[in-house]
């Protein structure tokens, strides 16, 4: 008996260490994928600026203006990353909490299991046996049918301490498994968070992408005219001011997006905590 308990506690410790490493790797994957997506987008914006210079036949590289535009885009990407990172960490914390509860359930299983032998030596169990023997004896010797019924009911209602021990074990295993299910669902949410961040970054690009589509519709004569004769003022208006105006739109739509992400996080955490409460409540009912 001692070996099973010790082995269980050792496996719990191993599981703990593995789960910590899992969380670290998942965070690294989140950062890596999100940063890769960001780098692609920033490169597109930077390349696009350079293409615009060529398109308008500008030889100066407008370095300062380009840097300001990139910097403004960076701020907006940063806001989204920070909010999604918060969401990611919140989910990880909930997973951690549930995995702790699982280990507590396992440790309690070990502790309940260790108490098994002492149940048979307890006063409670001796009393149960005495009563059981007494009621069975009375059922056998009593001629009166209502007395027989009375002792049969007493026998049925007699609580065997071993049953209570078994019920506790079953309830603890059930608790462990229910948390497993919930952890699995939360881990899927971590993947969803990465995808959602990449989609948010894609959305930031929509204003620039729309304007490029418009530009591509211009016919060859318009394009040639711009390349040869577009003034600095025209370039400033059609590229620099336009791109800054797009970023103004992004800033505005980001305010709403960040709110949406925050509410998603709050609702998700609330839902998880509700489900955790249900699991604990079912356990307490089962072990009453």
């Amino acid at each position: 008996m001692e070996n099973i308990g010790t082995a269980l506690l050792e496996r719990i410790k191993e599981l703990s260490d593995i789960e910590v490493q899992e969380k670290e790797l998942k965070f690294a994957i989140f950062n890596n994928k999100v940063y890769t997506s960001y780098k692609e987008k920033i490169k597109l914006i930077s390349d696009n600026f350079d293409e615009q210079l060529q398109y308008y036949g500008k030889k100066d590289n407008y370095g300062d203006e380009k840097e300001k535009i990139i910097s403004r885009y960076n701020e907006e990407f940063q806001k989204i990353y920070d909010k999604r990172k918060e969401q990611f960490i919140n989910i990880i914390n909930e997973i951690q909490e549930m995995q702790s509860n699982q280990k507590i359930a396992l440790a309690n299983i070990e502790s309940v299991y260790r108490s098994r032998d002492s149940i048979f030596e307890s006063e409670e169990y001796k009393e149960y046996l005495n009563n059981k023997n007494k009621f069975e004896y009375m059922i056998n010797i009593t001629k009166n049918s209502s007395d027989i019924e009375k002792y049969k009911n007493k026998l049925i209602n007699l609580k065997n301490p071993v049953d209570s021990y078994n019920n506790k074990l079953i309830a603890l295993v059930d608790k462990f498994e229910k948390y497993d299910g919930l952890v699995f669902e939360c881990e899927k949410k971590l993947d969803d968070c990465i995808i959602a961040t990449e989609e948010d970054f894609e959305t930031l690009m929509k204003y620039r992408n729309n304007n490029l589509v418009e530009q591509k519709k211009e016919n060859i004569f318009v394009r040639l005219f711009k390349k040869l004769f577009a003034s600095k003022r025209k370039f400033k208006k059609e590229v620099i001011e336009k791109m800054n105006s797009e970023i103004d739109d992004i800033q505005n739509s980001n305010i709403k997006l960040l709110d949406i992400i925050e509410n998603q996080t709050i609702n998700l955490v609330a839902k998880i905590e509700e489900l955790r409460y249900d699991i604990n409540y079912e356990y307490s009912i089962a072990t009453e």
């Binding site: 082995a7 593995i18 670290e24 990407f77 990172k85 396992l106 299983i109």
Partner: protein
Amino acid sequence: MEVEKLGEEFIDGGIINLDNSSVDIYENALKKIGIKKEEVIKQINNLLKKI
């Protein structure tokens, strides 16, 4: 844009740089420790059956 720095951690018997390695390294490491985790959980379930 700056992402949070995670530093180096001892994972699956070796040190992994959680900031500058490729995503494949992280995903492979995750897969390996996932296999270990399944093994530990199997052992736990076997112990629970004996109780």
